[in-house]
Symmetry: D2
Subunit: 344 residues, 4 copies
């Protein structure tokens, strides 16, 4: 059994890790830390977990000491020191924050306002989107677990860009997000009475995930990908729907594009490419690590519409982190992640 | 007082007309018809109206006989005969259906499968989007009341296209709709347990409102406008949010674009152009005839993002119909439409 | 025109007063105060009101100076001084807080922890539930506007208790509330992701409204009424449903009970007694000042089930306050309160 | 491995069984039947299941032939013949319908309008609420799986009644239900736009589960239990909250009552008795087989308030059915039912 620890166990991403790891066949929760709820069990913070986990939240140090793998669900900027410590001690480190996601320090500075305190570690980190970067995991012990939008959008677009079917610039990613993406801290925007019956965009063309999703697709395709990214907040708890629009290059045929997606994602358990005529729906992937993808074409304006749906807390955070742990430790990639999404 | 009648009074659009007309200062409900609920009062169908309207639903003939203005909330294809009858009798006719919206019969055939049974009437109908076509109402007694998406998208984009700031092709209109747009008849898609926590696209790049919104913008701008239109169904009751993406032409500056919107919509009570930094939200226009519009720019990929929010049942249907009645009868355009949208 | 002012205009109750008073035919908003949003217009706090009210929030003193009637939507304990000031200046005062609701100072001490700082004023205040205490308004200028539960439960039970049809003890009031009752300040309980898909009781048999609803029914019936009151928080924005259970006395017949309700509420515009077979629903009273009441009987266990539905922000707060203003100023009691509740 | 079959696999209860059985460690789905979706896989009906189950829906006969245990999720009245057939062939039969729940044929006639076609089988059926009737399973192969309300209410009240702490008559069970309890077929009541922001009672004191819950508590306590049962429909997908009010007998002390619950439910994995001060919440048991119970007391009116929360589709239907299968086949009672409920 792998001893798994969580730093920041009582935020939403941490809590979701608790849920998944409690039933993982090959790992066990070894230690938790929380600043807000020191000395408390997860079930005292989340009634759903009552009686199911008798670990009390301790310190970050305790987590490092007791774990083979450390999951960090921390505010941006706090992971680099912890990564260094884990690396020095030979522990695997999976960062659900953004500290290791951007390859270029100037991007990190611009969007997060910080600097690379351990530059040598960045080269040792793998970007943890297995379906697109599986070949890069060998020998890695630090994983930069992608964010939710930066999982959904690249998975929707990668095969089209890699196959040269669409223009790399002028792409639109119109994304719809559930409210758990905003975290546990109550704010005016997350107040039920404010969000109920509301739909609106936020951080329009100015969201930190914009450079990250462009980086992913640029690294894969070699093209200077430009995405206009607009996230919207919806009155649902979980889910990201990414509706991506890319201009078809002349001669790009729907059948060939579909075939490219099928080939690229063949054998990927967590990718469900929907049949022609169906449309991805966040409801169908809830509480699962699936990414459903549907392809649509607008012949009258030469547009590919690729829609992906994920659960932002699972494939967009904790589930993908467990998938990354499975890869690092040589387990079946689906271990602990096979729950059937509920139909309602 | 104007005597107003509603044909199809118990569907959602009809019921919303009932709500608005019951409190109109210059009109009164004179007659209602309903096939499904003949002999019943609105309050027997919608508990909210209990005790507030003692008209019983009768026949279409009774509505025509008793009304100065006939609102038709009928399935597509059933309005043309009724329009002819009203026209012959000198009654105003406001069609909430699609029969008079498309100017070209071939478009109507392609998207609705029907033909123009009274071609001469089409030239006598005005397309009832007052903020864009107010100059065309003179002498008209038939109004083709636009659909919900076809109100929201053109209002968001018209000033940019008219000013020549954006490319007319390659436009994306990513729209989010509340469920009342699907009507009162229960279906699997509108079942609470299926829609709750769901977000998905439907009729992707294949919705009947696509040619209608292109027609409006083509007529206004003279350009061959091409829009990739993707509607999404959300778990909210009311509202359309239209997030529209148009490529900026070289040299198009945000300040000038914003100024063009301000000028175009100056004096329009129902258009609220939001200040820089705010984003339109369907919650803020609920139960009102307002259309909130916000403008955003993505400099790194030269994109205008114009977002409009309406209540699909008010500005997208019944409210705009009342606004049209007000214009036809020379009333203040806001009569009966001044309720303050609830903050929560 | 009556000059109306609101102290505490940016909380939920204050904001709802703004909405209603902006369209009142015989009153106008004269001044607003807010500690949190000094210098701001309501539309800067609530996007729904954007452009509809150009008053800026000032001080409490300004409100008193400029108003004929002062509405106070303040935290408990802060109204008594203000009431005294308004009283001294001859201004009408309508308190949406609890300071004047409980007649016995010991009850106020026990449940609110404060004391009566101006005991003489308590005798001069009327308890503002017009349908039950209309005879007591004469000469009053201070109104203790009831809370939401304390409006819904007494309206459901009063005729049965007054008629001697049910036992005064052992009553159960199982209430379901929308989240706006908890106010605007974001908390963990009001976070969308925590409340969504949640239903739970709170302050079980320990809520401040318990003595208030018992007081109302005791004063009316002369009986020592005992109610077990359990409020529940639901994932809806507005509404109170009060399901009240009272044991039928021997010989109490449904027909006579129904007749007593009809007689008691005859002529009350805001009470809608539903026909046999229908059940009150919060949806049907949304955004209105109506209180829908349905009566049901369980013959196999001799129980009356009286269910009332109100909008907690209207009949349960701001709407009733406007109704009270109308009475104080001799206006039609329904002035400004005739909007038709939306059917969906 | 146990071969499990489902008759009526595409309704909500059947679909939930599919979800649970697909991941059961000791059983496998052997056959499914559906009248509405013959020849289709579950993933074609419920997008969530896409790719996860390649069984096609066949006939009832095929299910019986291929299964060791047959789960029947059929409309009331259709299970008796099937039970007889399974019994004759030595197959275990678990009925999620009501045909075997009521012991007295006159009750069945009164509430369901049918008769006992195989009276001898009724004596051979166990009422499948394991926490209350575990001693009665020996030798049984037919299980009458209880309904949702009839699981939640008896679990909340049984220890109090068995201990003689409360009066057996005059009990109130005010229940709140999610919409999946109404089944998959779309109706006006389940339309999103009608249910959203709605809360109302239905079948007030006239619901089929009333005699069933009284029967359970009568059989256990020997008392003539009388419950006024009022179900309410809420805008949530899953969950039953049962708020039960029972008059305390003189001298009944909270500590002793709590101790009786602790003793009665000691060792019951699926019962979580909440600590003093906490209140049961449907959110905390979602997608799990747990029944959370909280106890509250109103000293001023001598009332016990016992609140239970279950997921109506799991502990209230499919999960309890799997629990029953586990018992019949000698498995660990929690097999396949250990998923951690999501915190959000």
């Amino acid at each position: 059994m792998i001893d798994a620890g969580i730093v920041g166990a009582t935020g939403y991403a941490g809590a979701e890790l608790v849920r998944l790891l409690l039933r993982h066949p090959d790992a066990r929760l070894a230690a938790l830390s929380s600043v807000s709820f020191a000395g408390r069990e997860p079930g005292e913070v989340y009634g759903a977990y009552r009686g199911l986990c008798n670990l009390k939240c301790g310190t970050q140090e305790q987590v490092v000491a007791r774990s083979d793998v450390v999951f960090a669900a921390l505010p941006h900027g706090l992971s680099q020191e912890l990564a260094a410590e884990c690396f020095a001690k030979g522990k695997a480190f999976i960062d659900l924050g953004a500290d290791f996601r951007l390859k270029r320090e100037e991007d990190y500075k611009k969007w997060y306002g910080g600097s690379f305190s351990h530059p040598e570690l960045h080269g040792r980190a793998v970007y943890g989107l297995p379906e697109l970067f599986r070949s890069e995991y060998a020998g890695k012990k630090i994983v930069a677990n992608p964010g939710c939008f930066t999982t959904a959008v690249p998975l929707a677009l990668a095969p089209a860009l890699l196959g040269g079917f669409v223009e790399p610039a002028g792409i639109v990613a119109d994304c719809k997000s559930g409210v758990t993406g905003a975290g546990r801290t109550p704010t005016q925007n997350t107040h039920f009475a404010e969000l109920n019956e509301s739909v609106s965009a936020y951080k329009v063309a100015n969201h930190r995930h914009n450079p990250e999703m462009e980086q992913t697709l640029r690294l894969l395709s070699g093209e200077n990908v430009r995405i206009t990214f607009v996230p919207h907040l919806l009155p649902i708890s979980r889910g990201i729907l990414a509706t991506c629009y890319a201009r078809l290059k002349p001669g790009a045929e729907p059948e060939r594009i579909r075939a490219a997606y099928e080939k690229r994602y063949a054998g990927e358990y967590f990718i469900r490419l929907l049949p022609d005529g169906a449309a991805a729906d966040v409801k169908n992937v809830r509480l699962s690590n699936f990414c459903d993808i549907s392809l649509h074409f607008d012949p009258h304006d030469s547009m590919l519409i690729a829609i992906s749906a994920i659960d932002n807390m699972v494939k967009g955070a904790a589930g993908q982190a467990v998938q990354n742990m499975n890869i690092l430790f040589g387990l079946d990639e689906t271990a602990g992640l096979t729950a059937v999404p509920p139909a309602f």
